[in-house]
Amino acid sequence: MLSEKETGRYSRQISYIGEEGQERLKSAHVVLAGTGGLGCPAAAYLCAAGVGRLTLIDSDQVELANLNRQILHWEKDIGRNKVISAREKLEAMNPWVIIEDIFETVTMKNAPALTEQASLIIDALDNFSARYALNHAALQNGIPCIHGAVCGLDGHITTVIPGRTACLQCIFPHPPGGSDVPVIGTTPGIIGLLQAHEAIKLITGIGTVLENRLLIWDGRDSSIATVHLERDPECRACGINSSYATRTGERQ
């Protein structure tokens, strides 16, 4: 049940999604992997929207060069763990949201346990080996995962729904290289917000999500293109020869 204080706080969106929609947000548990350029804006808007439980996962410390885009980390936080820095700001922003911090690197080994309680996962990571691990865990646990990535003025986002859509490995079977990329701060801002937006739609059931669609943002001329995707039957993570297909009975 929503308290009177909550009903007031969320009144502008309750008039759109109804108290039922707000209750759905409150009972949702979002696991957010990465509290950097994508994770900060995504976490901030999900917290403001009243998602009931937010689990933050990151093993980085705040660095000076993060501050052009990672808006939950401030000058005073340099050297501190990002998950703690982010949790503090989010708790101050909205005391009605339960914030959990997990100081870990996402790996093939820990990802399934880190995400098993989630109603949905947000992939706000910064490298493809951890992203693939998160994708595997999402498939294994049957939990939707909203993937976003950026570089410079470019970004993309898609929503992976196990069994229904192409998974991350179907879409990107080979990891793109590059780390420590140049980033204009607004690029992860835009993609991170789109990830939060997809999450709110998935949780409340409004609109349609980016299922089997890759949205590509080009910040040079602020244009958006969407590309249709399909599952790859040969996919290592969800294809006919994968453990996913065997377990879910998709393999005939």
Partner: protein, 92 residues
């Protein structure tokens, strides 16, 4: 025949905005990418590895449909086909 090339992200900086390319009748994706690669060293480096193979991570779309990697060599283009190329980004 004329095909439309849409380049995304880094490719767009190197190849330019939407280009209409005139390629011989019966050409495939491989020929199109080779023609694009011939435009500059930078272009070729973005598209092909040292052995001259199309870089594995590049996403190629024909008429807004993702092309499976093993279909790159066998896909033949028709007049007015739209080919999009996207080098995915990875950062966060």
């Amino acid at each position: 025949m004329k095909v439309v090339v849409r380049a995304f992200a880094r490719f767009r900086e190197v190849v330019g905005d939407v280009n209409t390319l005139d390629i011989p009748e019966g050409s495939g994706i491989q020929e199109l990418l080779t023609a694009l690669g011939a435009r500059s060293h930078e272009c070729r480096d973005l598209l092909f590895d040292e052995e001259g193979r199309v870089r594995e991570h590049i996403i190629v779309m024909v008429n807004r449909r993702r092309l499976a990697r093993n279909a790159i060599a066998s896909t033949v283009l028709s007049e007015e086909d739209e080919v999009a190329i996207y080098p995915p980004v990875a950062g966060g």
